[in-house]
Amino acid sequence: MGSQEKKQGKKELDIIGRIPNWGWLLISFLTAMVLWFWLSINETTARSFPFVPEVFASLQTMIQRGVLWQDFSSSMISVILGFALGFVTSVPVAFLMAWYRPVRYVVEPWIQFIRNIPPLAYVPLVVISAGVGRKPQVIVIWMATFLIMTVTIYQGVRNVDNTLIKAARVLGAKDKDIFIKVIFPATTPFIVTAVRLGVSVALTTLIAAESTGAIAGLGMRIRSLNNSFEVAPMLLYIIIIGIIGITSEKIIKYLERKFTGWQETRNE
């Protein structure tokens, strides 16, 4: 009996394994569509979830109003600038924290303190000093991405295997060589993870960043559509943010394979 049960279990596994990845993706997509459809006909949720045709129609409306491209490019500029600033500043700060204890002891508590404050809370303060327009948006995204990326990269530097440093030293490496040829490459997997988290945080901070009196932007538009109860385009914009997220994730995956393919992975 026991062996028969095992056999059945194996058969089931085989079916799961035989469906290719794209097949699963299709199943996942179709299930989501069914769920969406159900939400669109269910009495309590119908008003928040118009179905595909309406959302699709709103795409045309937004293009006709001439705002879609404007919103998209404005948001992308803020996200890319904020993220880029966050990245270039977090790398040196993370390495300094890991390298020099005084820097770590002084800076780490600040980072831990600010990290858990929702960006929306300090947006007004940023606006008071930076004014309205592009500047406060970039600053808010920069702060949020800087914090998460610094913490991640710092952990990576501290995790570098000490035997590798010893091995480099006995092969004649000086401090400078150890930094460039050991610490830095050993940290790349964490840097890639930091980039992934940073991009995600940049997108999730977008709404807060664009509540600074922005004149265009995906986040700003969602808020303004809320005022006029236009649900379909709101949903459309939410989906667009999701698509941007998934696309950037794919790009990062590619970078990951390229730069950290040497890593030992637990499951193939």
């Binding site: 295997d161 035997t163 590798l164 010893k166 091995a167 480099a168 030293r169 006995v170 092969l171 004649g172 490496a173 060589d177 040829k181 050991v182 490459p185 050993a186 790349t188 950290t260 393919g261 040497w262 890593q263 030992e264």
Partner: protein, 263 residues
């Protein structure tokens, strides 16, 4: 002939290492004196906690002794130096570099250009018979292969003294005996002064010209045993009488130390 004269390569001069922890002082090494002759193959055995790794790290220049000093060719050891190579138990290969690049690592630091470094690295990769794996990353290699790369990498910078900290400790018995034979062969081809730590008595006897038995707490040298077995040594020797005599004697001495610790 002057060349035949035995010359002291490494002089360990009353080395002491004391760790100060929360529970007070721990004497890891209690005044160790040892002269290692040129081209000697020293194996150090002893119970864990006898300070053998500490001693190796001090010779390598990775640790500083609390008192006493180590001299290589009469020059006091201060920090690491490429005349002393190290092979670690955990292989310590750079996972982001291929086999070839790992072996070239020390050569590039010496200022060699790519072509020179590659040529020399290839020589040592061939020595450990990994020429088919030059472009492989460490994750694609077995434990034995990884350790071969580490040995090639240490040899490539042409150190005069080779320090090995239980290099075969993490390998299975079969790979271990194979690497032992290879190491003996390599040592005969390219004589180096070797300082090899192990807790495997058989391994010590099959490799060494001299076995050092250390005692624990505090760590010091208890006995030095000359191994008068001819080279090339073969695994068959392990079944023959002189080897077995050495084994029972050394094993007995080490075992006494274990009992001492458990008291």
């Amino acid at each position: 002939m002057a060349g035949d004269e035995k010359r002291v390569k490494v002089k360990i001069d009353h080395v002491e290492k004391i760790y100060e922890g929360r529970q007070g002082k721990m004497i890891a090494l209690n005044g160790v004196d040892l002269d290692i002759m040129e081209n000697e193959f020293i194996c150090v055995v002893g119970p864990s906690g006898c300070g053998k790794s500490t001693l190796l790290n001090i010779i390598a220049g990775l640790l500083e002794p609390t008192s006493g000093s180590v001299y290589v060719d009469g020059k006091k050891v201060e920090g690491t130096g490429t005349e002393r190579g190290v092979v670690f138990q955990q292989y310590a290969l750079f996972p982001w570099l291929t086999v070839l690049k790992n072996v070239m690592f020390g050569l590039k630091l010496k200022g060699m250009n790519d072509a020179e470094a590659k040529e020399l690295a290839m020589k040592y990769i061939k020595m450990v018979e990994l020429e088919d794996f030059v472009d492989a990353y460490p994750k694609e290699l077995s434990g034995g292969m990884k350790q071969r790369v580490a040995i090639a990498r240490a040899y490539a910078v042409q150190p005069e003294v080779l320090l090995m900290d239980e290099p075969f400790g993490a390998l299975d018995a079969q790979t271990r005996t194979q690497l032992q034979s290879e190491l003996i062969k390599t040592w005969q081809e390219e004589k180096k002064t070797c300082f090899f730590i192990t807790h495997d008595v058989e391994e010590a006897i099959i490799l060494a010209t001299k076995v050092i038995i250390m005692s624990a707490r505090p760590g010091r040298i208890k006995k030095i045993v000359d191994i008068n077995l001819p080279y090339p040594r073969t695994q068959e020797m392990k079944m023959e009488l002189p080897f077995l005599d050495y084994k029972s004697y050394i094993w007995g001495e080490v075992y006494k130390e274990y009992l001492e610790i458990r008291k």
